[in-house]
């Protein structure tokens, strides 16, 4: 059952991605919405660093957006 759900989600991914890949040119003066603080890639530099640190030390995975940071005693 798990694999069926997972495979279905994987098949849906390309359809979803296609919806996002139409690119419209946006002029410099039309970037107000994109500049809205709610549109940031990160929740705040220090929050992103902290959250990343928590998950990297409690889970097997690490990395994502940005190279792996410095060490700590987190295996």
């Amino acid at each position: 059952m798990k694999t069926v759900l997972f495979n279905t989600a994987l098949f849906m991914l390309p359809l979803w991605l296609h919806g996002c890949t139409t690119i419209e040119p946006v002029a410099a003066w039309e970037r107000g919405y994109l500049a809205d603080p709610a549109m940031q890639w990160e929740r705040g530099k220090r929050e992103a660093k902290f959250a990343g640190h928590v998950y990297t030390s409690k889970e097997a995975s690490s990395g994502g957006a940005g190279a792996a940071g410095g060490g700590c005693g987190c295996n």
């Binding site: 929740r43 690490s62 994502g64």
Partner: protein
């Protein structure tokens, strides 16, 4: 050993003053890369608390686990017209117990033997980052040092962002290197090493693209390689390879909903390493503007597959073995909410989240580790911007 890890209330403008320019996103490149306009100092305090283990999971010693208090202090300032510098100091105060090994309980089920009386440890990390800005991009160099009783790390990281001619696409690349020394404390539980070291190298490439006036997306690829002593010295039955190769493929999407004055955020990461673990991470958030506040609830689903050499009770007849729950198969769900407000030069943030994991929630097959962790975390922060 560390485990941790005015004004008018309905104006979007008042909130946008909170956006920092040192972020790398493509949409802000329309403003032509520049150092932050003002100096900012900030302080954040977080409390992280793991749930006590259920009675039937623990064979011996305390059921309670880790509690960590984290304080983050920073100052970030423009230097001249083209540079910025940031100093970050973080302190982690840890106490609690952690699993020492997994054995067979009287009920015939695997159970945890904990590490004994509460550990107290303190970690201090100091980092300095300098950043240079030019018309089409920016580049940064960061050095940081982390120090605690049993672990020391020195790391360097370099990153660069470059905007395309029409500023609709931003390319980013980064590389980092860390040199760590492990010298486990011997008074708590028997350990079998004195001092070992490990090195980690990592690179990342990414590109973000503006899709429309309200949509932006990015993808990225990273490769990380560690070599040296990678075993957990505080675990009785733990022996890991001395190299570890990790790959990630990530994607992100942001869409602004004009009618709702809110943004939908989605991020996905696929992870694969040569120890046999694969994982998927999916995070969805809704950032709602409310006057000069932002309220952002979020959900994160995570699932990982077990490492090749993992088993609930470590098999010491093999070349490599581990009973560490972090190498087992499971799924985890985080539900959280973040609140931020910008009041003139002052910024306030508060955040809370709850994390729960279970072997049943995972998409990958594998035996359940008896010591999966559940935790909650709360953070408050204050920042001040000045000339």
């Amino acid at each position: 050993m560390s485990k941790l890890i005015a004004l008018r209330t309905d104006s979007r403008l008042v909130k946008s003053l909170g956006a920092t320019l040192t972020a790398l996103p493509a949409y802000q490149s329309a403003l032509a890369d520049a150092p932050p306009a003002f100096t900012e100092v900030g302080l954040r305090y977080s409390h992280y608390s793991e749930d006590s283990l259920p009675e039937d999971s623990v064979i011996f010693r305390s059921r309670s686990r880790y509690d960590i208090d984290v304080t983050q202090l920073w100052i970030e300032a423009p230097v001249g017209g083209a540079w910025s510098i940031a100093l970050d100091v973080q302190n982690d105060a840890m106490s609690g117990a952690s699993p020492w090994f997994v054995g067979l309980g009287l009920d015939g089920e695997p159970g945890v033997i904990m590490s004994g009386a509460s550990i107290q440890d303190n970690r201090v990390e100091v980092g300095v980052t300098t950043r240079y800005f030019w018309a089409d991009g920016n580049a940064g160099l960061a050095i940081s040092h982390s120090d605690e009783d049993d672990y020391e790390a020195l790391s360097f990281a370099f990153d660069v962002a470059w905007n395309s001619a029409d500023n609709s696409r931003t390319w980013t690349a980064s590389a980092s290197s860390s040199n760590d020394t492990v010298s486990p404390v011997k008074e708590r539980i028997p350990v079998f090493i004195d001092e070992e070291s490990l090195n980690t190298q990592s690179i990342y490439f990414g590109v973000s693209q503006i899709l429309s006036q309200t949509r932006i997306a990015r993808i990225g690829l990273s490769y990380t390689q560690s070599d040296g002593y990678l075993t957990d010295p505080y675990k009785f039955a733990d022996r890991r390879p001395d190299t570890h190769d990790k790959w990630t493929l990530s994607a992100g999407y942001r869409q602004f909903m004009v009618n709702m004055d809110a943004a939908l955020q989605a991020d996905y990461r696929y992870y694969h390493d040569d120890w046999g673990t694969d994982s998927h991470t999916l995070e969805i958030g809704w950032h709602q503007n409310l006057g000069n506040h932002i309220l952002a609830p979020y959900l994160r689903y995570y699932t990982q597959g077990e490492a090749d050499f993992f088993s609930p009770i470590a098999d010491r007849s093999q070349a490599f073995y581990a009973d560490d729950y972090r190498l087992s198969s499971y799924g985890a769900l985080t539900a959280g909410v973040r609140w931020t407000v910008q009041l003139g030069d002052w910024g306030i943030e508060a955040q809370a989240e709850r994390y729960r994991s279970s072997n049943d929630w995972g998409l990958f097959d594998g035996d359940a580790a008896p010591a999966l962790v559940d935790f909650w975390r709360a953070t408050v922060g204050l920042s001040w911007r000045f000339d």
